[in-house]
Amino acid sequence: MNETSAPEAPSGETQHRETQWPRWEVLKQDAPARPHQAVGSVHATDPEHALVTARTLFARRPSAVSMWVVPDHAILARTQEQDERGEPLPDTAEGEAQPYVVARKVNHKRSMTFVDVVGTVTATSPARALDLARATFPEPPALAWWVFPDAAVTRTDDTPETVESWFAPAKDKTYRQQSSYGVVGTHASERRGRRAAAPAGEQSGGEHD
């Protein structure tokens, strides 16, 4: 969990050939005024490949204006449970001061995203960046933190051509929530006497297909 070291097989275990491509976390921004949000991960050979794959998997239907990918090994992740157990942070080397992106999760009610980006801090190591993040963004209490060097992020460019070809087509595509398809028996929402389905084509919650 350090931006300078590649993932290593645990020592003492039989090494097996790694055939999976590196993992990248995907952060998607739905609208210019919204934060980038972690929406999932992709396996890809390199940053450009990761970004193209991320667009295909995470921005086909829901609206988006920007995407980032970050290699998983560049992210220092910390949960509330790890804090409560007093788990030590991984050793992270001190280096030149550099900006770190801070993202956090503040409630359990989210289904489609994990952490939201809240800002940046400048620090000499991931551990110091996490300390600074806690001090800079104390409220509401975070359930999980991510910090990663800004330099580790690969971003979609914001030229009109990219926005048009990567993100605009999804806006014109109509789609249905799963709940609008027929079910065997009676849909739970009908038993409760509620409207069964959101209208097709509404951006009503970022369902992926």
């Binding site: 992709v42 193209v52 087509p169």
Partner: protein, 262 residues
Amino acid sequence: MTDTALTSSTLDAAQRDALIARLTALADDELILSHRDAEWVGHAPILEEDIALANIAQDELGHAGVWLSLRGDLDGSDPDTLAFRRDAGEYRSARLVELPRGDWAFTLVRQFLFDAYEAVLIDETCASTYAPLAEAARKIVREERFHLQHTALWVERLGLGTDESNRRSQAALDELWPHTPQLFAPVPGEESLVAAGIVPDLAGVQARWTPLVTAHLARSGLRVPATPSAPPAPRTEHTEHLAELLREMQEVARQEDPGTVW
């Protein structure tokens, strides 16, 4: 659009027939290629690319639907009937898209060659004097730019990846390249459409496409084969593979009465 734009009621009879032929060729290429891509669902090398190729297949299928709907405006034909009730002899697909899916390199090299063709063709079609066609092209061109980015990225990685991936990509290119001129062959009466500014001149499209793809193939460590000097076959002459593809694609629909609503 200017108010001098053509509509379905202002085309003359020759333009109308030629436009039906052109729209059918466009639709059939996308429909058949979409089916070939969809054959990878559940079989692609990794999950992410399985989904990505299915996405591209869905986009191409959607484009086929757009072209067939535009044809329907001209002759009252029904897109589903055209897709599921025509035999190979009535299809106007190019041979490039009919060839079996082959390996991953073959699929991606073909998709790259086709995406580049479609991106240039549709880019120029945005200026069509036939308003419904220009409007459709302006929507489709955005998706095609992204397809092209995706498949160009793959061609580069396969071409420069390993000896094995380079060998397979080169073999794919050697087999596919001789089929590319057919994409740029006009359909009967197409010159009347070009003259009226309804569709772009395919020779001009080819003149943009050729340096675009050859530069990228060379960057990707691949040799561009010689282009055959013989004129391409007409779109009425298919590979042996089309009939088998249609048999599978149309199998379910043909078990039902025409016009069955699902």
